[in-house]
Subunit: 179 residues, 2 copies
Amino acid sequence: MGKSTNEVRGRVSDFLAAKGVRLTAQRSCLIDIVFSTTRHFTADELLDMARRKDPEISRATVYRTLPLLVESGMLKEMDFGEGRKLYDPNYATNPHHNHLICTDCGRIVEFEDAVMERRVDDIATSLGYIPINKSVQIKGACRTLRDSGTCANKNNSQSSKTNRANTASLKAAKRRTLK
Amino acid sequence: MGKSTNEVRGRVSDFLAAKGVRLTAQRSCLIDIVFSTTRHFTADELLDMARRKDPEISRATVYRTLPLLVESGMLKEMDFGEGRKLYDPNYATNPHHNHLICTDCGRIVEFEDAVMERRVDDIATSLGYIPINKSVQIKGACRTLRDSGTCANKNNSQSSKTNRANTASLKAAKRRTLK
DNA sequence: TTCCCTGCAAAGGGTTTGCACCCCA
DNA sequence: TGGGGTGCAAACCCTTTGCAGGGAA
């Protein structure tokens, strides 16, 4: 299965060491926070979380650390065209998932599909490129909401700004992966 | 095949009429420019192009018109995570294409693939959603550049900010579409 | 006349950066 | 002690918005 939180932290530390940058208290704090959650977060949300541990940490440090984590390959930067970046720590353990965003409630569902993954690779190859980074984003309307008028997520997650993926969604998506 | 430029303009006009908004001189000017090119462009680039025809046109009008064109379904808004939005007029004539971005030169290659399209729809359906909008973005490294050290695009298109898709790329991609 | 639309300029929101200070190696 | 790292605040960039003037219905 996926990597454990500790293993992920170790890998990031190794990456920073290899790159010759120091593992400072602030960076360590940020790494701990980032990889102890499965939630997607914005830079600002990470700052909030970090300040609960270390009230002195600055916004600049957060913005300077995030690209390091992304470069390490353990954190994924995403852009759903909402004017800010979202970060997904689940790539550390599940590097092949993609996202479906509900147009009704903004909920983000993670899914994995090996067939699609392969197809996308084949397309890149046939175009003469070596695939480096693939992003499949689906915006979809909740069928349950259409059919029955209610949606489990609609109730508690109207504000798309604060919606998060949850662990269950990825597991469920894997289970449902098409044959 | 695809719709002609005039047909696209007609559709947009119809959309605006149905929506009850006026086809002003400024909007007409912008529509002409947007749909007489196959290039991707930013809001700012559209402003530049528009001012060559009408030096009085304002940035605000451009920013207010773009969402109308997107809403009409004839123009696609894209976000490659570069801090600004790109607009793709080719969706008017080819609504099912996606994009590969070269990590070497920033070139954007358009491609269509029915198999992948279907797969993505199936995934959305199996997750319980009605697919509304699908975006597949591939970042890839130019194999020619890797193999031979040169790349036709590398020479004339280093600045990713000004790179554009060309008509040929879409046609070529269709030809190469996987069976 | 009414109401939509425009241009101007200022405001907004996310992100980056210059600079002085700090601190570990 | 040298050079990276941090915090602060200002700068940046793209985009949105308030407002007064203007023009089509």
